[in-house]
Each structure stands twice: as C-alpha cells, then as structure tokens.
Symmetry: C2
Subunit: 400 residues, 2 copies
C-alpha cells in the first residue's frame, strides 16, 4: 500500500476535527456555525447494546442520529423511518482469490448489517460494487470480471436471509452479469424488500470517463433511468455514483415519487472530495426528498501497475476512498460525516412527513417551470440546435 498517499489523504478525520473546533465555541457561535455548515444539529440517538458490542468486536464505527424537523399534523400520523448506510474497505488483499475476497466481504458486511438490524434500521444501502475492490482503474478483465453475478446470484441470496430476519429493506450494489444478454456487464443495485424478495433493480445510468474511473471499459449507460421502488417503508430511488453530478438526473427520481434517494459511490480524495458535501445535499434541497451519499473507505492496491491518465508514473493503488457518508433532509439539514477511514454504519431516524411539509413551504414543485426546461432540453438535444446569444449583432428580440 502506498503509505505516502495513505498518510497524506487518508489518515486524518477532518470532519471530526472541524466539529471539535466548532464545539469549543460559545453556544451562540456554535449554533450559528452548525446552522451555516450543516443546516443545524442532528440529535445523537443511543446505540443498542448488541450493536455496540459488534462495533467494538469487529472494529467499526456507528453513528446514529434523530432529525426531528417535521412538525405534527392533524390528519397524518408521523412516518418515522430509520435509514441506514454502510461504508467499508475491502477485507483482504486484492491478490487473494476471487472467492476469498468475496467471502471476506460477506463476513464483514454481515456484522454491520446485523448491527443495523439491531438498531431497528428499516432501509439500508451498501456502497457501490460492495462485493469487490473497485478494480476498474486497472482496465484488466481477467479475474475482476469473475466478481460479476446475476441479480438473483449468491450475494442476493446471502442478503435475502438477513433482510427477512430483520424485516429490513437492503439495497445491494453489485457488478451484474446479464445472463440473458450474452452475459454483458452492468453496474447494478438489487432492491431486496423487507420480506427478503427481490423487488427490482436499478442500473447505473451515468458512466464516468475520468482519471482512474475507466468504467466504460466494462459497462455502458444503464437502461433503467430513475426507477422508483415502493418498498415496505418508503418509496426509494438509487442514483449510482457518478449520477450524483447531474441535477437533472436527481430531479427524475423526485418527479417519479421517490422519498429517499441513495447514492452508493466509490470516489477518491484528489478527484472529488471538495464536491462531496455539495452535490447530494443540493439534490435533497432542490427535490424535497432525503438523500444518502455513501462512499467506500481505504486505499486499494492492485497486483499490476497502471497509469492514471495524468502524466504521472505508473503505480498500483487507487488513491484514498474517503468515506464521509452522510444523509440530508429536504430542508438541507445534514448529518455529520461518517469516518474518512473506518468501516462505519450510519443510522438516521427521520419523519417522511417532512417531505410534503418542506414542499408546501417552499413550493418548488409549483414554481419550477418544467415545460420550459423540457422544451429547452429537447431543443438542445437536436442536431440543428443553435443556441441564441444576445450580442451587439443580435439584439434582444423582445424589446423593452
């Protein structure tokens, strides 16, 4: 493992350092800084004894919060839901066999899922391609393609039992082998309902071609844009990784009725860390739903060297996946980040009634101009489009 990169990027819990700095201030200043940076303060909730024991024994972090920002209504009862997210490093070296690597990840994630179940989590999402290292930086096919499996493959069977036992919806991002279509590969999230049955799947719709993210070498843009699933507890959507950069994509899930949109990701510090706290949070605000951004942790080192399209010498690691998963409510209130380096479980209790309350307050659904956007986006998609620009030689047509 490149110790230098690990040290430079991964070592420090910058989010905790920031929160500590703020907490040292007077109440007035602390409240104001928390409001500006996080939209206010989430209330920590007590961990169950079993969850605590598991976290100690298996060395993972649990952060659990209540977001008490919905008000009581007369006609609707509160719709309290506990939303979970898991971030983790790989479990053994990438030089180990495919089976050993996958089994080790299963064993690790099982503990985190049990802790989530014991905490009463209703809906939980794992990180992108959680059964494998994020090997797409290598551009190699041998070995890594063996991690791919069908939607009803062994990983889904493994998770179904846990889902059923804890009555917990599990969103499981895998590398999918599409048996019916000549075995082609997709980047897919399997939606397992609280009864352990597969409700459906979402394929990654926006595929990066940036730096080490050579994913289009492996799979194309998915064919299930912004699908919304009515699970036992809430209507959910899954916007996989790179899709978080596209506000119009986030909007699609909102239009179709999603109450919570998960963003299972794999992204590294030097590329995206300044954007991480902005994008999923903005989506929650703009669309009036809950968002959960999830990123893996750790530095993954591969057997063979590769280059990164930046003119620098070849190397064997992917840089640091910085974790920092978090949840945002429709009013912009967000939880603190999970660790930048540790396996972690986030549990956030929310009241889904807040969605309609925030939309009623701001009126974004009625004040947005959807037909205008549709018209412009359609025009801009045509080959013969000529965007009009007002200039000295093209004066504004609608004169004053």
């Amino acid at each position: 493992m490149s110790k230098e990169i690990q040290k430079e990027e991964g070592e420090l819990e910058y989010h905790d350092i920031l929160l500590d700095l703020i907490k040292g201030q007077s109440k007035k200043k602390k409240d104001a800084l928390m409001k500006i940076l996080y939209g206010g303060e989430c209330i920590p909730i007590e961990l169950s004894e079993k969850a605590t024991d598991l976290s100690t024994e298996h060395d993972f972090e649990i952060k659990a919060f209540n977001l008490p920002t919905a008000y009581e209504e007369e006609l609707r009862k509160p719709r309290k839901v506990r939303i979970g997210a898991i971030q983790n490093s790989i479990a053994v070296s990438t030089t180990e066999s495919v089976e050993k690597q996958r089994n080790a990840l299963w064993a690790k994630i099982e503990k985190l899922l049990i802790a989530a179940g014991e905490m009463g989590t209703n809906i939980i999402c794992l990180q992108e391609a959680w059964t494998m290292p994020f090997a797409f930086c290598t551009r190699e096919k041998k070995k890594w393609m063996e991690f791919a499996e069908p939607i009803d493959g062994p990983t889904t069977k493994f998770l179904s039992k846990i889902a059923k036992k804890y009555q917990m919806v599990i969103l499981s991002p895998i590398l999918e082998r599409d048996i019916k279509r000549q075995g082609q590969i997709w980047n897919t999230v399997v939606v397992i309902d609280a009864d352990g049955e597969v409700l459906g799947f979402q394929r990654k719709t926006h595929i990066p071609r940036v730096g080490d993210f050579n994913e289009s070498t492996y799979y194309m843009e998915g064919n299930t844009p912004h699908t919304v699933f009515e699970t036992k507890y809430a209507k959910v959507g899954i916007n996989i990784c790179y899709g978080r950069h596209f506000p119009e994509n986030w909007a699609g899930y909102g239009l179709k009725g999603a109450e919570i949109v998960f963003n299972p990701s794999a992204t590294v510090g030097l590329l995206s860390e300044p954007l991480w706290g902005v994008e999923a949070r903005n989506a929650a605000i703009a669309n009036g739903y809950f968002t959960v951004a999830i990123n893996r942790v750790g530095t993954e080192v591969f057997p063979n060297e590769f280059t990164s399209g930046n003119g620098l010498p070849s190397h064997k690691d992917f840089g640091h996946f910085y974790g920092s998963s978090f949840l945002t409510a429709p009013n912009g209130l967000r939880t603190p980040s999970l660790s930048r380096v540790r396996d972690s479980l986030l549990v956030a209790e929310v009241d889904l009634n807040q969605i309609r309350q925030v939309r009623d307050k701001w009126c974004f659904p009625m004040t947005r101009r959807l037909p205008d956007y549709a018209k412009l986006f359609n025009e801009a998609s045509q080959l013969d489009w000529e965007p009009e620009i007002i200039s000295k030689s093209n004066p504004q047509k609608k004169k004053k």
Copy 2:
C-alpha cells in the same frame, strides 16, 4: 429597528470566525479543511490605493482574490477576467421620500462602483432590486411602486456613465415598469455593456411565495428564460434570486453558452442561510461555469406593521439579510464569503479557459443524458401523466 433580531442573526461574522478557527490549525489540517469546505484556498490580491481609501472613507469592505486554477494551454491565451459583486444595506430610513431613498442608494453605490473600477473589475453585478428596500414583505403598493422604472430609466442612465468611464460591464437589477404593456411590473436585470450601452435585460423567471417573499403580489414569472449576453469580456447569464433553487434553470444558462452566471438575491437568515453555500456552488460544479451569488445586508424596517404567514405577531422588519456573497469556479473552488453585515465589494480574478478545461476533465456535457431528461420532463408536464412506480403489484417490466 428590531434590536433583538439584529443581535441574534446579524451581529456576528460567522464566516470569518470559521476561517479564523481553521487558520489556527497546522498547515496540513488547514489545507485539508479548506479543501473540504472551500475546495481549496483563493489567493488574496492587493487592493489599489484609491479603492482602499474609498473603502475607509465610506465604510465598506473589499475582498479581492485570484483563483489560479486554470493551466496554460498551447493554442489559447489565458482569458483573465476580473468579476465583481456588490452587496449593501439600504442608505436611509424607509420612511424617507422615494427620491431621497433612491438618491442615497445611488450615492452609496457610486463609491463602490468606483472602487471596483479602480480595481480593474471587468464585469460587476449589483444586488436584486438595488435601488429600493425589499418592500414586497408589506404587500403594499403605495409608495413602493414608485421605485419602478423603465429599462432605459434614470438608474440605467446613471450607471451607463460609470460603465463607460471604467469600461466595466454593469448588471443592474431593478424593479421594472414595462411602459409598453400597460405599465406592468417585472423584476429585471439591465445589462449595460462596457461602452455604457444597454445590451439587453433578463426578467426574473421564478417567483417565490414563501414567508415574507410575497413577490407574486407585484410581478409574474418573467418572459426571458435563461438569456445569455455576449458582453465585451464574457458571455454572462443572470439567474435572479429564487431561481437559484432550481438546478434545471441553472442548466439552461449553461446549455446556451454562459461562462459566468450571476445570482443577485435578497434573502434572510431564518429562511435560507443553510442553503446559501450549497445551491450556487452546486450550479458551478454541475454546469462547469462560474457563479456569483449576491445577497443584500442589513435589517429593513418598514413604516407599517405586517405579518409573515407564520402565526407570529405582526412586526415591522424583514429579518436580517445576511450578505455572504461569494464566487465559485467550475471546479468547485469558492471564495470566502463577504461580510454578513457590511456593505462590501468582491473582486475575483479568474481565467475563463478553466471552463473548457474542467468540462474536458469531467465530461459532464457528454455523459449527461439530455434527451432522457427532456423526455421525462415533457411527460411529467402532461395532464395525463402517471409516474410508474415498481411495487409488488407492478413488477419491474424489464426482467433480469
């Protein structure tokens, strides 16, 4: 003036307090915190002597930065532009005559514009409805409607001279009286090119109906959606105030070629402060252009009491306009905020070449799926639209 509200919300420079906390850390921690919170550090640039003298004499703040994040190219020369923004409180009591109030604002803004000109600013934008108090909280028409003026009215004439003298593009948000259309009112930005000529105008396209922002009592949704103007120095768009909540609206300016999008605003702490640092910044990232969010400062107190639609007793003030104007580059790097309470001038030197460089890196224009968004937005705009939701009773059609 309600001293309590002023004290609670307005008094403290929370952004400076935060930066001071960060600057007290070791270099390693400081760099990391700046990266996570601001996308890195902007380099302060020296103020001209005349600008400094003006700021001292007339009690305003100047913050000037260089954002040196574009790299040198072989075929294109750098396109350095100095972008400016002005935020201010009203100049005299709202009980004064219309003429006195407007003249006092002209006199105040003249000093700030001269300072901007002396700093070599190329394009500058003033705050929303800058010639008047933001009186729309009152729902009264008498007196306040007299602030409205045509696009080529006295304020434009006043600014044209300054624009010409300093070869500085000025974007001037006014309350517009549309003489040709029965004198109806719009919320409009007049675009004055560097030669002092009016290049065109942008009318506010998204109108709030929230809390004290009773603006639809005065004017309707504008009829010039995302117009882009080729000024002497850059192609600019203006997304007025509430329009910043709509990512699809920001996208329109980008599609049509804007390089810088200004967001002249008037918004108060209790309503929007947690969202302020997120929305315009996300727009810069998603669209790969520069954004400048501008908010007025101070607490405006009106002659007659009014209520705010929140069940609380009637009062005479609008809460605190929290300033905090800032600029964001296409890579997410943002300047520190201007003051929360003081009249201020922001000057930021950028290289417009960065726009294409960031777009080439991330490839958002090519990886977004515009025709898909157009199709969905169009479908969702139809009366007979039935959004499909996958559930037990409506299984996913495209089977695994």
